[in-house]
C-alpha cells in the first residue's frame, strides 16, 4: 500500500496581469517562501522539488534551471512538468506519486507562470501540431466559444445563466486577497454589455492572463503529523489524457467523443466509494476557463444531471453560502497564471478544509473537497482532499 500524502504547507503570490518588478524566478520564490513559512519549514527540510510551467508562454525554457537558486532546486532531485493547462495539477500528481512511493518524505510542489513575458494565445495556438493546427485551431477562446454554443443548444441555458456564473466568480474573487480580477460587477446586464471576443464568448466570459505562482509542501504520514497541526490529506489523484484536437473538444457536438472528465470521475469516484458526489464531497475548486464551461463541468463531474448545470447556478447551490460551493476563490475566470492555476485549485481546496480561507471561507464545514484541472484537448486531472484519513 502506498504511503499517505498530506499537504502541510500552502503559499501563493498575489496574482496580476503584469509583474515588471520581478523576474520569473523571483516571482516563484515569493510563493515558495510563503509555503515554507506556512509549514514552518526551511528549504533545507525539503528533499525534492517539482515544478510546473508552460515554457512557451515565457519562452524561458528549462525554467527550473533558471530558478535553481531562488526556488530551492539547487542540489536537489526533482522534475519539471509541462502538460498544457493541466501542468499545475500534473505537478501535484508528480509530487503525490513520489511521496506516496516512499522515495521522499517532504517535497516542494510549485506551479508558476509569468504571462507578461509573451503572448499566451499565440503560444496556445502554436501548441496545436504545426502540421495540422492551422485549419483547426482557434486558440483556447475559439474552443470554448464552440463549447458554449454546444452547451446552449443541448442544455437550454441562456446567456443570463453564464452571466450569473460570472457574477458569482467576481463576488468570490472580491473576497479573496490573492485574486487577480476584482471587478465589483453588480448585475447580469453589466456582464451582457461586455464586448464579444469570439462569438458567443464575451470579454467577461473568459479567463484572464495572470502572473503568479503557487507552492505546496507535501509530507508523508509519519512526517506530516509532526510538521502540521492541520495536515490536509491528498487521498487520491486521477489523470486522464485525451486525443488531439478533433471536431469538438470541450463541447462535443458530434456525440461521439469520449470525455476525459467522465473517465477520470468514474475511476476516482469508484476507488473512493463515491456514488453521489454532491453528498460525499463538500465543495469543489474546478478549472473553468469560461463561465459556460463551469456549468458544463458541473454536469461532467456529476454534481447534477445532464442539462442541469445552469439550474445549480440559478438556485444558488454553488455559492459560498450554498449547499455545494464551487470556486469560492473566484476561480480561473478571475485568476489564471496558467502553470499555477491548477495548483491554486488544490491549494484553495486545502485552505477550505483547514478552515483558513479567511473572507472566502465557505459557510458549511468542509471535510472533503475535489480539485480539477483542464487543459489541452481536454486533459483532466482530479484531486481528492480530506481533513481526516
Amino acid at each position: 500500500m502506498p504511503n499517505r500524502v498530506a499537504i502541510v504547507g500552502i503559499g501563493q503570490t498575489y496574482h496580476t496581469s503584469k509583474r515588471p518588478d520581478v523576474n520569473y524566478a523571483e516571482m516563484t520564490r515569493e510563493a515558495v517562501m510563503a509555503a515554507l513559512a506556512d509549514a514552518q519549514l526551511s528549504i533545507k527540510d525539503i528533499e525534492a522539488t517539482f515544478m510546473a510551467s508552460m515554457e512557451t508562454f515565457e519562452a524561458i525554457y528549462l525554467p527550473d534551471h533558471e530558478m535553481a537558486a531562488e526556488a530551492g532546486f539547487f542540489g536537489k532531485p526533482g522534475l519539471k512538468v509541462g502538460t498544457g493547462g493541466t501542468s499545475g495539477a500534473s505537478v501535484v500528481a508528480e509530487g503525490f506519486y513520489f511521496v506516496a512511493s516512499g522515495l521522499y518524505d517532504v517535497a516542494l510542489i510549485i506551479g508558476s507562470e509569468k504571462q507578461d513575458c509573451g503572448d499566451t494565445t499565440a503560444a496556445i495556438t502554436a501548441a496545436a501540431t504545426p502540421m495540422w493546427g492551422k485549419g483547426a485551431t482557434t486558440g483556447a477562446i475559439g474552443e470554448f466559444a464552440k463549447q458554449a454554443l454546444s452547451y446552449m443548444k443541448t442544455s437550454g441555458a441562456k446567456e443570463e445563466h453564464a452571466a450569473m456564473v460570472r457574477l458569482k466568480a467576481d463576488r468570490n474573487a472580491c473576497r479573496n486577497p490573492y485574486a487577480h480580477l476584482k471587478l465589483g460587477l453588480k448585475s447580469v446586464e453589466e456582464v451582457l454589455k461586455s464586448p464579444y471576443l469570439v462569438w458567443p464568448l464575451r470579454l467577461l466570459d473568459f479567463c484572464p492572463q495572470s502572473c503568479g505562482a503557487c507552492a505546496l509542501i507535501f509530507a508523508s504520514e509519519k512526517r506530516a503529523k509532526k510538521i502540521s497541526k492541520k495536515p490536509v490529506w491528498l487521498v487520491d489523484i486521477e489523470t486522464v489524457h485525451q486525443e488531439v484536437f478533433k471536431a469538438g473538444v470541450f463541447g462535443d457536438p458530434t456525440g461521439k467523443e469520449t470525455y476525459a472528465q467522465h473517465v477520470a470521475c468514474e475511476r476516482l469516484y469508484k476507488r473512493n466509494g463515491i456514488t453521489n458526489p454532491r453528498k460525499s464531497i463538500d465543495m469543489a475548486e474546478i478549472y473553468e476557463p469560461s463561465n459556460w464551461e463551469e456549468m458544463n463541468l458541473y454536469e461532467h463531474f456529476h454534481f447534477c444531471g445532464k442539462g442541469e448545470g445552469w439550474k445549480l447556478i440559478e438556485k444558488g447551490v454553488t455559492e459560498i453560502e450554498g449547499e455545494f460551493p464551487v470556486n469560492p476563490s473566484g476561480g480561473v475566470i478571475a485568476t489564471n497564471p496558467i502553470g499555477a492555476t491548477p495548483t491554486i485549485r488544490v491549494a484553495e481546496a486545502a485552505l477550505q478544509i483547514r478552515g483558513d480561507a479567511g473572507e472566502h471561507q465557505v459557510t458549511k464545514d468542509v471535510k472533503t473537497a475535489m480539485a480539477s484541472a483542464l487543459g489541452g484537448p481536454n486533459w483532466t486531472v482530479l484531486s481528492l482532499l480530506k481533513r481526516s484519513l
Binding site: 515588471p20 502540421m131 485549419g135 482557434t138 486558440g139 477562446i141 475559439g142 464579444y196 471536431a247
Partner: protein, 173 residues
C-alpha cells in the same frame, strides 16, 4: 471654503512614482523545420498534387480518422495503409466568429480579423474543422451547405490543411 479644503488635500497627496523597470524585448522570427511524417505527409502530398482530403480508417471500429494517424487512439490498433478520400462538400455543423485576432502558428502573423471558423460535417459524416468564406455574422447559419475552395496555384499549395482557403456556400458562385 469647502472647495479650498479639497484642493489642499489633493496637493498634499504625494504622487506615487513608478519605478523604471528594465525589460528586454525579443522580436525576431524563429526558424522551425517540421517533418510531417509518413501519414500526414501523405495527406499533404494528396492535397498538393490532387486537391484531395484524405483520412485513414481504423480496421476495428471503422471510424475514419482525420487527421490521418497510423494508430486508432481508442482501439489502439494500427490503421495500416487504408486511405479514404473525403467528400469536399458538407454542412456547417457549428460555427463561431472570431473578433479577437489570433496569431498564425505557422508564420507568426496576425490572421485577418474578424473571421468565421466552423465544424463542417462532410457528406460522409466525418467532421472537419476549417474557415468559412462568409465573414458576415448575420449570414452565417448552421446547416449551410458548403464546399472546399482550394488554392489554385500549385506552387502555393503544400501547406496541408492550409491548401484549402476556406469553405464556400454552395450556390453562391
Amino acid at each position: 471654503m469647502a472647495k479650498k479644503k479639497v484642493k489642499e488635500t489633493t496637493e498634499k497627496t504625494p504622487k506615487k512614482e513608478e519605478p523604471e523597470y528594465i525589460r528586454i524585448k525579443f522580436n525576431q522570427p524563429r526558424r522551425y523545420d517540421w517533418s510531417t511524417g509518413k501519414y500526414l505527409g501523405h495527406f499533404y502530398a494528396e492535397a498538393k498534387e490532387n486537391k484531395k482530403i484524405m483520412g485513414t480508417r481504423c480496421p476495428k471500429c471503422k471510424e475514419v480518422l482525420l487527421p490521418p494517424t497510423p494508430v486508432c487512439g481508442k482501439c489502439k490498433v494500427a490503421t495500416g495503409w487504408d486511405w479514404v478520400e473525403m467528400p469536399q462538400t458538407g454542412t456547417v455543423f457549428q460555427y463561431t466568429y472570431l473578433v479577437f485576432p489570433l496569431w498564425d502558428p505557422h508564420y507568426g502573423e496576425r490572421w485577418a480579423n474578424p473571421y468565421a471558423s466552423a465544424i463542417i460535417k462532410l457528406d460522409n459524416g466525418v467532421f472537419y474543422r476549417h474557415f468559412l468564406e462568409e465573414q458576415d455574422k448575420e449570414k452565417l447559419k448552421e446547416g449551410m451547405r458548403v464546399k472546399a475552395v482550394w488554392k489554385e496555384d500549385y506552387n502555393e499549395r503544400g501547406q496541408g490543411p492550409g491548401d484549402i482557403l476556406y469553405f464556400k456556400e454552395i450556390g453562391k458562385e
